[in-house]
Structure formats: C-alpha cells, structure tokens
C-alpha cells in the first residue's frame, strides 16, 4: 500500500492522470516518449498498460504539428494532455499556442472551446546547459486566453493537473525537474486546486517572499536562514501564474511592507516583473512598501558546475537579499549552508 503521506510529485502526476482518464474517456495523453519505459521520468508510468495505445501514445518529433493536433483533438471534444520533456521544446509550438490556442475561443465568438493541457518540464543541474534549463512561462502569462500553472508540491501537482484537465481552456502546466523528487501528502481521491488562489506556505510578518516553482523551495529555505537573524518571512506560492492571485500577495505585503519575488526564470519581462508591477498597482498610494525580484542570472545557463551554481538563486542568496532589503543594502551577510535544509535534490547523471 502506498503511504499517502509520502507520495512523490511524479506519482502525484501519474495518479492524477490515470484517475482522470478512468473518470473521463475523453482524456488522452500524448507526446514524445510518453509511452517508453522511462515514461517522462515516471509521470506517465502505467498509463499505456491501463488505457492502451489509442489514448496514450508517443509521437514523432513534430512539436508544431502535435500542438496543432492537440488543438484539433480538443475541437473534437477530447481533452488532450500534450507532454514535452523540456519546456525549451515548446519554442517550436509557439505559433499554435499563441496564434491559435489562445485565440480560438474569443476569435470564433465562443463557438469553439479548447480544453487542453500542455505539460512541460524545466530542467536544472548536471550541466544540461543553455537549451535545457529555461523557464519560459512568462511568454504564456503574457498572452490572453492561456492559463498557466506551476505547482510546487505533490499535493498541488495532483490537484492542479486535475483542475487543468477539467478546465475548458488551454492550460500550460509547468513542472520542474527538481520538484519531481519532492514528496508529501497526496489524497487518493480526485480533487481540484483551481486557478486564482495563491497559498501562504509559511506565515510571517517582516517580508513577503513569493517563490515560483522550484524557487518556492529556496524561499522556504531562506525563511529558515532568516530566522537566524530574527527575521520572520512570510512565504507565498502563487501556484497559478495566470490568472494570478494578486489579492493574497498584496494582502501579505500590506502586512510586511516588503515583497521579494524569486523566480525560476529571467527577471526581465518575467513573472517577477509582473508580480512587482501588479502589487505596486494595488498598494501604491495606500502605504509605503518596497518590491524586489531575483531570478536567473541574465545569461544563458552555463553547464559547468561552478557557474551553474551562480546562475540560480538559492536559499542563502535569497536570505541575503531579503536581509539587505530589510537592513539596508550591501550588508554582506550570507548565511552558512545548513545541511539540515537540504531536501533530496536531483543531481544527475542523466
């Protein structure tokens, strides 16, 4: 028997998929390698055996046409889940996603709706390098007509996927390779974690840390580091990036007076810029507060371990930045690495 308190993110995804497929025969899963023995890191494991090759199938390397096909399937009343093993490959699918999927319902005056999910994974570590490590979800946040979700916990991985599958619109479902190794409680039954509700993952009063996708983990680590200095950070996981729950974040900043958004992506025109802007729009004039962001270094991701480490924010650098925000810039405090804060991390090799 599965220990429901210790379910992996990977199993949460495959379970959600299998349950929805059993519940609704219009749900199908396809994409490169969803049906091989690796089963997209296990996230599609068992589906082929259970639901057969018509509802679970690998595809040619044809991201553009397969995205278009997902749209056509949705038009025909299916609820396709199209899977990419790397988010980077979605750059081949931008035309169908931006020009067709996002616009179909509106542009056809409501005659057609597109219930479809596009799953993809952000890579990290083991020198995957420039083309396998990008979090490009801000592109999809930018375009009206698409929803975007990036769950962090196994619980949300399941609930958000179910919600995404049942949504009557195109949903971009963002996973992070490192999050796949997260474990936690996941109810057996079907449940939804729907759009538009952020989660306060740790209460606090001094500063609001918003951590997106894997950076949620780093923010939780940062909270511990900051406690060493007597700072009590509130941590928020936006979960759904589009629509974005600005209310919850703004309410927190109303309390703490400071916002630090830590993104799993570049900052420029990214989700972190958006959250800063949206919170500012909400609160300016009402009170004094500050807004800040961290994200990927403004370069391509270098594979060599030393530079790769510098490329990403981590719990310590997030804590250092938060400390600077509260105590004045360039305090040069950087906490020592604490082994007790290392959850299991995927380290390769691939």
């Amino acid at each position: 028997m599965m220990n429901r308190n210790n379910v992996s993110y990977v199993d949460a995804i495959s379970e959600a998929t299998a349950q929805e497929m059993a519940y609704d025969p219009s749900v199908i899963v396809f994409g490169l390698d969803v049906d091989d023995h690796k089963a997209i890191q296990g996230t599609t494991k068992g589906l082929l055996a259970k639901f057969g090759p018509d509802r679970v199938f690998g595809t040619p390397l044809s991201e553009d046409a397969m995205t278009g096909a997902a749209i056509g399937m949705a038009m025909c009343g299916l609820r396709p889940i199209h899977v990419h093993i790397r988010m980077d490959f979605m750059m081949l699918a931008m035309n169908q996603l931006v020009n067709i999927a996002a616009k179909t319902h509106y542009m056809y005056g409501g005659q057609i709706r597109l219930p479809m999910v596009v799953r993809s994974m952000i890579g990290k570590s083991w020198g995957q390098g420039a083309q396998h490590s990008q979090g490009l979800y801000s592109f999809f946040m930018h375009v009206p007509g698409l929803k975007v979700v990036a769950p962090t916990t196994p619980f949300d991985a399941k609930g958000c996927l179910i919600s995404a599958i049942r949504d009557n619109n195109p949903v971009v479902y963002v996973e992070h390779r490192i999050l796949h190794f997260q474990k936690g409680p996941v109810p057996e039954e079907l449940y939804e974690v729907g759009p538009g509700k952020a989660r306060i993952t740790a209460a606090g009063s001094d500063i609001t840390l918003v951590g997106i996708s894997h950076m949620q983990i780093e923010c939780l680590r940062a909270k511990h580091y900051l406690q060493e200095k007597g700072i009590n950070a509130e941590v928020i996981d936006p979960i759904w990036l589009s629509p974005l729950d600005v209310d919850t974040i703004a309410a927190s900043v109303r309390k703490t007076g400071h916002l630090l958004v830590v993104d799993n992506d570049w900052a420029t025109c990214g989700a972190s810029a958006e959250i800063m802007a949206a919170v500012t729009e909400r609160l300016q004039g009402e009170m004094r507060f500050t807004v800040h962001r961290m994200g990927f270094a403004n370069t391509s991701c270098p594979p060599t371990p030393s530079l790769e480490y510098l490329f990403y924010p981590n719990g310590r650098t997030v804590a250092a930045k938060a400390f600077d925000i509260l105590k004045g810039s360039a305090q040069n405090w950087l906490p020592n690495e604490r082994p007790d804060l290392k959850e299991i991390e995927f380290r390769g090799p691939f």
């Binding site: 044809s62 278009g68 949705a74 025909c76 005659q111």
Partner: protein, 310 residues
C-alpha cells in the same frame, strides 16, 4: 445534381462579387481574400460531403464556407463586424466559422489548420465517429514544415481525412517555382504513404473523385487521401480588384481559366428557366444577407472582454 452544383457555384461567385462591390464603401473593414475563380474546388469537394462532416479552411475560404453550408447571413454580418456575425464580429473575414455546419474555423496564419485538422481526425477515429474531416489549404502552406509533420502523422495514424491542396500557383505574388524546388506537391504527400491524385477544377470530376475517397472512408477504409487541385485566383491576393498589371503575372495566364469558368459552364448546362429560378432565389438571399448585415448592430462595448476564456 447539375442544378444543385450550379446553385452553389453561382451563389459563391455572386456573394464574392457583392463583397467586392461593397468593399470600396468601407463598410467591410476586414481584409478580404476573394476566391473568385476558385469556386469549383470548394463546390466539387463539399458536395461530396455530408452536413456532419468537418472542414478546416483558410483565410481565402468564403467559397468553402458557403459550399459546406455555412450560414450566409452570419458570414456577411461578420465581414461587416456586426454582433450577428458568425463570430460576433470578433473573427472577421479571415476567421469564418460555423460549427453547426461542420466548419471548424479558418486561420490567417498559413498552414496552421492542417495541424488542427489531423488532431480533429484523430478524435473522430478514437471516438469511432463516422464522419470525415477535410482540410483545405493553398500551395503556399505546403512550403511550411507543419505540412510535412502533419502528413506524416496523418499517414502514421491512418486518419479519416482528405487533404485538399488548392494550388493556384501563387503565395501572394510569389510563384510556386520561386518557392519550391520541385513543384509537384502531391509527390511530397505521397512519400508519406498515402493515395494522391492531381485534379483540375472540373467540378464534376472533382466531385466524383472526392466522393470515391469519402466512400472508402465512410465504409471503414483508412485514410488519409491527398488531392492536389489546380485552380486560379482571378483577383488580387487581398482586396476586391484585379492586379494583372502589377507585373508578377500576365492576364494571358488567367485567360484559359476564365474560358473554362465552371460557373459559366454549369449555367450553360441548365435550361434557361431553371437557371433563372436559381439565380433569382440566390439574388434574393444575397440581398437579404447584406441587408441583415447592414441592419445588425455592432457588438456592445462589453463584448470586448467577453469570451477570452470559456
């Protein structure tokens, strides 16, 4: 049958002529890509289909929309940007749609509907529906990578779909030979393993050949089928005028097509009285459609934000 075909051909021709006539009044503020001269393919193909069959069309698809049974009033209102239009004025001339009549929409980005059509056909097959999917596209669309990816997938999955390449020899002003190293489009589909056929714009022959493919699919045979249909665009790429003086093509190239004009040909096959009856009915219908469009209101401001999400 002749009467029915003529009605469809005449109706399409006349609708587009009216669009061209109205266009200079600026009542239609939407880029129109007329298919005048290309009606034959739309009619030959769509007459072979049933109402529940599905077509995917392009920005140059007033013809296919009408031939498949798309609502005329909703079309003209859409061109006028009225709330009674097929897409409530949010689609425009390039995005005609009529789901009730199996018309799954049209894209202004070339080639995109090919990929959508194979997905739809996959759904049809998975759900064991008995209808058939038809996808119309131009010769220009076959320059795009998505065309090849889609042919491969359709053949790999043996989908119940019929591809109709309307080869009018041009993408905007660029002749096929300037874009394609080898002009034989059907051969490029054939390498993926599907029956191909090259057709002209003889409506009856088109009807016969498409009907045969439809019959095969309807009776449980596997697809896809590919037809390359030669045809010719009489008007400019976009807009209501002719452009034989623009330099990229000569009127002499068009003349043989105009001489074998299918609308005229079918007109001649009917007895004058029957012809007159058909034409009169069509004229009344068209006049009503334009009147309907004229008299319909523009969408209310609140429509701007309506329907971003389902």
């Amino acid at each position: 049958m002749i009467a029915k075909f003529y009605e469809s051909l005449y109706r399409i021709r006349r609708v587009e002529e009216e669009v061209a006539k109205v266009y200079p009044t600026d009542k239609i503020k939407s880029p129109v890509h007329l298919s005048i001269g290309q009606e034959a393919v739309a009619v030959g193909v769509c007459e072979a289909l049933q109402p529940e069959d599905i077509v995917f069309i392009t920005y140059r698809s007033h013809a296919a929309y009408l031939a498949k049974g798309g609502n005329l009033k909703a079309m003209i209102a859409e061109l006028y940007g009225k709330v009674t239009g097929s897409a409530k004025g949010k689609g425009g001339s390039m995005h005609l749609v009529d789901v009730a009549n199996g018309i799954m929409g049209a894209s202004a980005v070339v080639g995109t509907t090919i990929a959508n059509s194979i997905g739809y056909a996959y759904g049809v097959k998975l759900k064991r529906q008995n209808n058939i999917v038809v996808c119309f596209f131009g010769d220009g669309a076959t320059d795009e990578g998505v065309f090849y990816e889609s042919m491969n997938f359709a053949a790999l999955k043996k989908l119940p779909i019929i591809f109709i390449c309307e080869n009018n020899g041009y993408a905007i002003h660029t002749a096929q030979a300037k874009r394609q190293s080898v002009p034989d489009i059907a051969a490029k589909a054939a390498v993926f393993g599907m029956p191909i056929e090259r057709l002209g714009d003889d409506v009856l022959h088109l009807y016969e050949r498409i009907s045969a493919a439809v019959e095969t699919l309807r009776s449980g045979g596997t697809g896809p089928f590919f037809f390359e249909c030669e045809t010719y665009r009489w008007k400019e790429h976009v807009g209501p005028s002719e452009d034989y003086n623009a330099g990229y093509r000569a009127k002499t190239e068009a003349e043989p097509w105009m001489q074998q004009d299918q609308v005229q040909k079918f007109a001649m096959m009917l007895d004058p009285q029957q012809r007159q009856q058909i034409e009169q009915a069509v004229e009344i219908e068209i006049a009503e459609a334009f009147e309907f469009a004229e008299n319909s209101p523009f969408p209310p401001d609140a429509e701007l934000y309506d329907g971003v999400f389902a």
